[in-house]
Amino acid sequence: MSRTLQAPVTVAFDYTRSVGPVLGRFFTGLQERRIVGARLSDGRVVAPPPEFDPVTHAPTTDFVDLGDTGTVTSWTWVSEPVAGQPFDRPFAFALVTPEGATEPMLHALDVASPEEVATGLRVRARWAEEPKGGITDLVCWEPAASGPDAPRSGAADRAVGGTEDAGVTGIVTPVSLDYTYAASPEESSFFRALAEGRIIGQRCPACGKVYVPPRPACPVDGVPTEEEVELSDTGTVTTFCVVNVPFLGQRITPPYVSAYVLLDGADIAIQHLILDIPAEEVRMGLRVRAVWKPRAEWGTTIENISHFAPTGEPDADYETYQHHL
């Protein structure tokens, strides 16, 4: 058995990006099948245009429409494309200097094999049939001498929002991060004990404090906390809040009481839900007991405990939990 419990996690969000006036002009150009570059103070002509001149630091203002043919100045072969790349088949990433520019720009080059690419190769833009307002409106470069004629630039009669000022002001950049989460060995034994209906902590040999969940080292003394301590599933609410606000990704429907519960025998509170009592009656010092889900639903998770509910005992004295506020 692995020392650590592991579980897959995906963190994904579609971030929106305001592109500002300079890059907005570049993206708007792509939508209209034009590559917009900028002439910089040192005479170079560059696409995409930098937002600020690298020499004078002034905002870029001198825009130039470049040709949609160009020359490969360097390239690399992508033999095993990964998700999110321009093609799901092998292709080249190439530095291509568009006609009228002095510097190359990076994009995909669609050729079947590395033998078909060479520095100096003449290429032309392949435009998206349905522009979306992003770099992929320029699908890729392709060899200028081959292939069927793709739609060319100058398709000015195609509606771009219908009005002159309907340029691109923002793009969406989806981000998705997949990784394997690993609990520490100490936390893993805590979660495995929960799968047996037990709650375990560990005592620091230096300060004597009992940590739940246990952790590799006492955060105060920095020494391993090796002595295992079995804890009660009853405890005291120290402090709490009532969550009334809904938000993206929320797993519990508001309103709910998110509380710190100081389990009997522990020196640090855990966060959990309080139910079976109206939210407005939850109070500091409330005595609570874990309400376990049916055993058949248990896994290696604190969610085996559905929530905490009042025990019916008198409230704990303030002195018993005041050092946990």
Partner: protein
Amino acid sequence: MAKIPAAVIGVGQTHYRAKREDVSMAGLCREAMDRALEDAGLGLDEVDAIVVGKAPDLFEGVMMPELYLAEALGAAGKPLLRVHTAGSVGGSTAIVAASLVQAGVHRKVLTVSFEKQSESNAMWALSVPVPFVMPVHAGAGGYFAPHVRSYIRRSGAPTHIGAMVAAKDRTNALRNPYAHLREEKTVEQVLSSTMLWDPIRYDETCPSSDGACALVIASDDVAQGSADPAWIHGTVMRSEPTTAAERDQVNPQAGRDAAAALWKQAGITDPAAEIDAAEIYVPFSWFEPMWLENLGFADEGEGWRLTEAGETGIDGRIPVNCSGGVLSSNPIGASGMIRFGEAALQVRGAAGDHQVDGVRRALGHAYGGGSQFFSMWVLGVDRPAN
């Protein structure tokens, strides 16, 4: 080893808004930077180094912004550093910039911090579920609300104190043209607003803002040529673990230690008497009395009395957040630097309609994470005696 005297000679801010869809992150930063440079009378080429700060990466989904922003920030050919301390980052970034000058490494350092909350969702970013753990997290408000409840219990403060702070800061923001929320608020209005994370109400919560702030920090010789330098009298950063048995989250040790070290550095023995204006990081209204105690302006459990007595108002004994504070503008990555910059404006007499009369020394303060990072500085009219 003695530090070289250093001062803030330029402050630049963008207008803080819910959405700045007209500019990119680079454009937003440059707006603040260009204003700070103009204020300092310097060009970007005259700056020796650039120090950037922003909030945690997930907030905006930009990894290594210093890499992507380098050219637009004019950092090509210069040292470019990024600082990363959660919500306190704006303050920490200013302190790193200051230390480069005080150590004699550079003479003119530009520092900028920013946030475009409109491009992301900080509430989501702060609440991503962790496997095996109870999914009760609910953003920053959900994190801090239980500790606010603890403060109220420990101090015995009346429940309207938080509303008083919110009404004061929101009303102060009317005097600050850069503020995001510029609306007069009464205590009654705040008390009648929706309870979001009980005991924190909607009107007691900071907004989500886009914005940037920049400072120019200069060494002794450069600053002496400036018309109105805000001299750095002390800078301190402290951190502590997020969780520890019996950790005090109402009055954290790191904050207390940082404040004690700060007052000692600045030669201050009675901060309530010697600090003329304070910009304190108050994202939820109750943190005003909490930090007043943590910083030593009041004894433990007594901070709320200063608030209740109006002592933290613009005409009070310790004016706090005359700019409107984090409660009125919160581009998270920049919020700490705004506190530090507003302290500079107060010292320079340049705070406009929210200027406090006769400021000799001002405090800028920020905190972040689960109240585990603290950064603070004291600025003064007088050149420090080294």
